[in-house]
């Protein structure tokens, strides 16, 4: 009994260790491949655009850097290319632009200080709406369960949509389900 417990503990620690080793290996591997790609002679347009797309031109309004035709943006894309060639990471390049031109170059403001409000207010407002609706539904249901049941069991209820009550053929289309439709058609036939 004791042995099996000890064995399982041992196994666990071995597993854990191997996981760690594997993890470290993976990280090293990704670093080395990352470096390898970063050191390639000239980064391609696609590599540049992948970063430029996430940045907004500090001069022209609301135009992502990858499609902005101004000379300034052209220069900034070249800058990205040089930084990529120098082995800078995406985060470092973005940070460089933020440091030089302010947070407005990012397509979304960093969630710091006042900018928290960007992310907090819409969900809060929406949740408030859901809450209000939920409360309305609850009172709605509590006060109305009796009459709703009455309506359903009432066979004289003609159809769900009174708007089409003036046209006999239409009425069939608006029935809740087939059974109901059949019943209603039957009624119509009798009326005729």
């Amino acid at each position: 009994m004791l042995n099996t417990v000890r064995m399982s503990k041992l196994m666990n620690s071995i597993l854990k260790r191997s996981f760690w080793i594997l993890g470290i290996l993976l990280v090293c591997l990704s670093f080395s491949t990352g470096l390898a790609s970063a050191q390639s002679p000239t980064p391609s347009d696609d590599q540049v655009n992948a970063i430029a797309r996430q940045l907004f031109c500090p001069i022209c309004e609301n135009i992502p850097l990858d499609v902005c035709p101004t000379q300034a943006c052209h220069d900034w894309r070249e800058l990205i290319r040089q930084m990529l060639a120098a082995g800078k990471s995406e985060a470092e390049i973005k940070q460089y632009f933020v440091d030089h031109y302010g947070a407005r170059v990012l397509s979304e403001p960093p969630a710091r200080g006042l900018n928290w409000l960007v992310y907090v207010v819409p969900p809060l407002a929406f949740c408030a709406g859901i809450f209000l609706l939920f409360m309305a539904f609850r009172t709605w249901r509590r006060t109305g369960s009796g009459s709703a049941a009455a309506l359903v069991s009432d066979p004289s209820m003609p159809e769900k949509d009174p708007g089409s009550a003036n046209s006999q053929g239409d009425a069939a289309s608006s029935a809740v389900d087939d059974e109901y439709a059949a019943r209603f058609e039957e009624q119509l036939r009798k009326q005729r």
Binding site: D45, G102, W140
Partner: protein, 685 residues
């Protein structure tokens, strides 16, 4: 001379609008119908007058009167006549006048209707339309005068109506010309459509205010304005789609919607108008949610003005532009006053506009409950949009730092909400008024859910692994199947009962209840558009490469072979640089594409993408004018946009559906009465 005439008529119209508003209210409070009648005629007269003003300006534009600053800024000698005419809405001053023109058309049209039955609404409809018109005319008159002349003074040129002291008239031989980006058919029709949508929403709002003031709590105002609202919605949607088409076709960034504040400003009234179209049905059928409908239509009106304000005041580029522009504060004040008075009125009447039917008679999955939920979801999208536009302004005011709230923010927030709206679009047609549970919905939904589930299975089997795409496409499939199921079931029922053939049954079915089936057609259109949105949002791929002639590039299974590039002048003075590319797929030649960019004499570049469009995907090629190009080497940016065509196709279906729903009845007075009496027998509990 003509400029003076135009300006003079503008002054007269402004005074007439003021008189109309005043006389209408005076007549209402003093209960003197002749004042109301006088107001009606005054508003009626505004349309011919503003038409005179606009025609004067159009004449000045076409005949090249560059001594007027506006004419100078938007036209030039080399522009064709039709573009000179459309330059009426090519700039700030002209587009404000154009707004007034359309507003006066709608105001006059509504004055022409037979008022014998609903006379008590008349004074307030006249007053609201006249005040709105008066406001816009005042902007043209005092701040953005399209007839202002150029004057040469010691300190340079100024624009003014009257000669400044010591100035001499300045008459340039040629104008600056319309921004080339705006010389596109999409941009030529986009503003009129959008503005038509905007001003048409003023009419239901005017009736709503009339109902609030007079305390007429029934749904008459809704019935009277149902078609106006539908037309407004049609124009607004067309305006939005045309804007998208223009952006896709001209701007050359591979998409049609960039979550630009200007776009969002135009979308916001739509986000309120759409649920409004649905919730008014609850009021008509069940006498419920009167207050909600009031809130929605007031919001729509405010957002219409707000949208015009955002795009016209320059506030979006910087809060400082707002304080510099003269019309910004005017708009701000007008929006504030409108908000206070309309919501004040609503609060004042709050109790009178309580629901007729007891809320208790509806259950959680009844159609009215689902409509309410949909309205909430739309409100969620609206909040996201509003906050995304407004927050950068707030941030700039408080921290003096500009920030960007860009596409990722909107996409993340709006995506799930639109997904839920799609789900509701599927469920709601299956629900019934008053009563509904998960069980009744389930029982109605399982049949259309089967093909939707099949779509999901096929998607998974064919290698679609994007979770959002799977959810979105399945929801669209479900909504479309439900709609088709509703059509099919009703047609079959008709066929069974009256032995009509299928087409006749379908025709009669839609004809008998055009509102419902028009709506369903619109739902189908929305499904098609949703398909396009999912296609481009989730599956767009792009690459950029610089090619030498004879080289090729690959994207999404296509091979683009760069054949040649040439540069030549065009008659209107622009220099065209045009590349020829051959497109292959799986080794098979598909045709040639000609991406190009034009350089206008004033230095303005314009990128014109070449698009190969099929139902399954678009190949969108841009000759990148912002990188170096030579006779043998050119940079290309290629986008593969799956399913985009469905957006344009869907918009045609949408127009058709709206026309089906909005086309006037032979006897419009009759239908609502029957509906009402039917409701009384059916819904009374």
């Amino acid at each position: 001379m003509l400029a003076n005439f135009g300006f003079g008529v503008l002054v007269v119209t402004f005074l007439l609008a003021l008189f109309g508003a005043g006389a209408a209210m005076y007549g209402y409070f003093r209960k003197e119908d002749r004042w109301v009648e006088s107001a009606r005629r005054a508003v009626l007269l505004t349309f011919p007058l503003v038409t005179l003003v606009s025609l004067s300006l159009i004449y000045l534009l076409v005949s090249g009167h560059y001594e007027l600053r506006y004419v100078y800024s938007v036209t030039s000698n080399d522009m064709p006549t039709y573009l000179k005419v459309t330059a009426l809405w090519g700039g700030q001053e002209g587009s404000l006048l154009f707004w007034s023109w359309l507003m006066s058309a709608f105001a006059s049209a509504v004055m022409l209707r037979r008022w014998d039955r609903d006379r008590e609404f008349l004074p307030w409809v006249a007053a609201v339309t006249a005040i709105t018109l008066g406001f816009f005319l005042s902007l043209s008159l005092f701040f953005e005068n399209p007839f202002a002349r150029w004057w040469q003074t010691a300190s340079g040129e100024v624009a003014a109506m009257l000669r400044p002291v010591g100035a001499i008239p300045f008459n340039p031989p040629d104008g600056a010309g319309l921004n080339p980006l705006l010389r596109h058919p999409g941009m030529v029709i986009h503003p009129p459509m959008l503005y038509l949508g905007f001003v048409a929403f003023v009419i239901p709002f005017a009736f709503a205010i009339a109902a609030l003031v007079t305390g007429r709590t029934d749904d008459r105002w809704i019935r009277l304005t149902r078609r106006w609202t539908l037309w407004a919605w049609l124009f607004l949607t067309c305006g939005l789609v045309l804007g998208m088409w223009w952006a896709y076709d001209v701007l050359g960034w591979g998409g049609y919607w960039g979550w630009d504040p200007v776009e969002i400003a135009a979308l916001m009234p739509w986000l309120v108008g759409t649920p409004f179209l649905h919730t008014v049905m609850i009021q008509e059928k069940r006498g419920m949610f009167k207050q909600l409908n009031m809130i929605l239509i007031i919001l729509t009106y405010i957002l219409v003005i707000f949208g015009t304000f955002l795009t016209r005041s320059g506030v979006l580029s910087s809060v400082h532009a707002f304080s510099q522009s003269a019309i910004g504060p005017m708009f701000f004040a007008f929006i504030g006053i409108t908000m206070i008075t309309s919501f004040g009125l609503l609060i004042h009447r709050w109790k009178d506009f309580k629901s007729e039917a007891s809320l208790g008679s509806s259950s959680m999955f009844s159609r009215e409950a689902l409509f309410l939920l949909a309205a909430l979801l739309f409100a969620g999208v609206l909040i996201v949009c509003f906050w995304g536009i407004i927050f950068p302004l707030i941030s700039e005011i408080i921290t003096n730092q500009k920030i960007t709230v860009g596409p990722p923010f909107y996409k993340r927030a709006v995506g799930p909400l639109f997904g839920l709206i799609l789900l509701l679009m599927g469920i709601a047609p299956l629900s019934s008024w008053t009563y509904g549970t998960l069980k009744t919905i389930g029982r109605a939904a399982w049949k259309p859910a089967i093909p939707a589930a099949l779509v999901l299975v096929v998607l998974v089997l064919t290698g679609t692994h994007n979770l959002f795409a799977l959810i979105g496409l399945t929801l669209i499939a479900f909504a479309v199947c439900v709609t088709l199921y509703e059509f099919g079931r009703a047609v079959l029922a008709r066929g069974r009962s009256s032995a009509e053939n299928v087409l006749v049954a379908l025709w009669r079915l839609v004809g008998r209840n055009r509102r419902r089936y028009g709506g369903y057609i619109i739902h189908l259109a929305m499904g098609m558009m949703g398909l396009a949105i999912i296609g481009i949002e989730l599956f767009q791929t792009t690459t950029q490469q610089s090619l030498a002639t004879g080289e090729s590039m690959q994207l999404a299974g296509y091979t683009l072979h760069f054949d040649s590039i040439s540069q030549f002048p065009y008659v209107d003075g622009r220099t065209v640089t045009r590349a020829v590319m051959s497109v292959y797929r799986d080794g098979q030649y598909l045709g040639q594409l000609y991406p190009r960019y034009d350089l206008f004499p004033d230095g303005q570049p314009m990128t014109i993408p070449a698009i190969r469009s099929t139902l399954s995907d678009d190949l969108y090629v841009v000759l990148v004018n912002w990188e170096d190009t030579s006779a043998s080497q050119a940079p290309f940016k290629v986008y593969h946009n799956p399913l985009v065509s469905w957006l344009w196709l869907g918009s045609f279906v949408f127009i058709f559906g709206t026309l089906v729903a909005a086309w006037p009845d032979k006897d419009p007075a009759l239908a609502p009465v029957i509906v009402k009496s039917a409701f009384k027998t059916a819904g009374a509990d």
